[in-house]
Amino acid sequence: MIVLDQTSVFYGKGARRIAAVRDVSLRVAEGEAFGLVGESGSGKSTVLRAIAGLIPHATGTVLLDGHDMGRRRTTAQRRMTQMVFQDPYGSLHPNHTVDQTLSMPIAIHKLGDADRRVPAALAEVGLGREHRFRYPHQLSGGQRQRVAIARALILEPRVLLLDEPTSALDVSVQAEILNLLTRLRRERSLTVLMVSHDLAVIAHLCERIGVMSGGELLETTTADALAAGQVSHAYTRELLRSNQGFDASGVA
């Protein structure tokens, strides 16, 4: 479903050009969930953005469902991949009601029938009719993230891109959102690409996991191998240890 072949993304021009992502190749099959971990600046979110078409990739190819994604995408191609962002406080328009937020993509993609689609999308993410005409500030963090997920799913995409969807949320709310994502993925057989710095969260949702550092994909492993500590890269081991809590012996 998603194929990246030697894809690089650069920011800036000339001498100040920086490779945010260098020669990353990966394949995600239809219906699979793939996770990307790494620290800030490792390029994991940039990979996501390149797949979503939010930034152009400089070299290499990005294939979605077998089609080469060029500089410009058709509306149908854009509709196929939808994204959920990290911060539910920043990713919803503060002056738009939930209804407006959810109606916008329907209008852009000329799907019509907003009056049926909006309540259906809300019901699917576990929100009621009473939330439809509220503003983001009248919702809790978890409810906002549900709206963001509904906004992505209302277009019935085949690929869902998740950029740290739970890191701004409390543990108990995180569990609710993760359960919601698990269910939606199963019901709609979505292909999921998720980015997070939390190994436990990634391993919960994804079968295969890629580890990124300094713009490169260091290794690809499975959630089970990661849990068993079977990793080849020193960086991955360090990441694994840091995720297990504080351990003074690990610091030189």
Binding site: E39, V171, S172, A175, A200, H204, L239, S242, F246
Partner: protein, 281 residues
Amino acid sequence: MTDTLLSVRNLRVVYPGDDGEIAAVRNVSFTLGRERLGIVGESGSGKSTTGRAIMGLVAAPGRITADEMRLGDTDLTRLSEAGFRKLRGKRIAMVLQDPKYSLDPVMRVGDQIAETHRQHVRAGRKAARLAALEMLEAVQIRDPQRVYDLYPHQVSGGMGQRIMIAMMLIAGPDILIADEPTSALDVTVQTQVLAIMDNLVRSRGMGLILVSHNLHLVSSFCDRVLVMYAGQVVETCAAGNLANATHPYTRGLLAALPELGHRRAELPQLQRDPAWLEDLT
């Protein structure tokens, strides 16, 4: 116990609301010795407010009341704002979450540390600069001379947080309150910053209060943990024993955490019991 640095009994922080007062913190009692105490809880549980109340940093219209709040021989309940100002930095210091926002963006970081030093210790410019450089070295900054002249936007998050720690420890406080000190940092940097903080706090015989929402972090770093829910401490336990916590809230939180190597089809969601909101005595 002679080694008690801070004792708090029946701390209460209230804010006026539309229908009467809202207690952000209530019935909170604890003592702090030369140890690492963790306070965990979700957003809105009152864990940060507890830390702020100890420093007298609850802004009007919020009010602090307590049967007892004592730092060594100082009664914090009777202290004026001027009294608190002398206390802050000198005897209690606080490390905040994000160095991007908590350092002055238009002042060189070294000067910010030196300023704290001069605020509390009679020292000339030169002596303050030397003290600041020494402190930068203590938090394991490799090239203190160079870093001294940098502005906050020129340093990384991990370095910013170490600068923050340097600034907080330079006046030699008895207690350090760290409010989510590593939440804005990468996991690999987190461990480093915590280790530095831990070393300094231990070698100086200080008490540390670590406020965090991260259960793993607190249970592996601290000696003792207070679990807060809706403004109250619902459970106190030894950090190593957190896995055997008895309160349903703590157990619910622990169960809701995804675990590496223990994959479940569905995470148990926290069922909140209204009984948890009742006043504990």
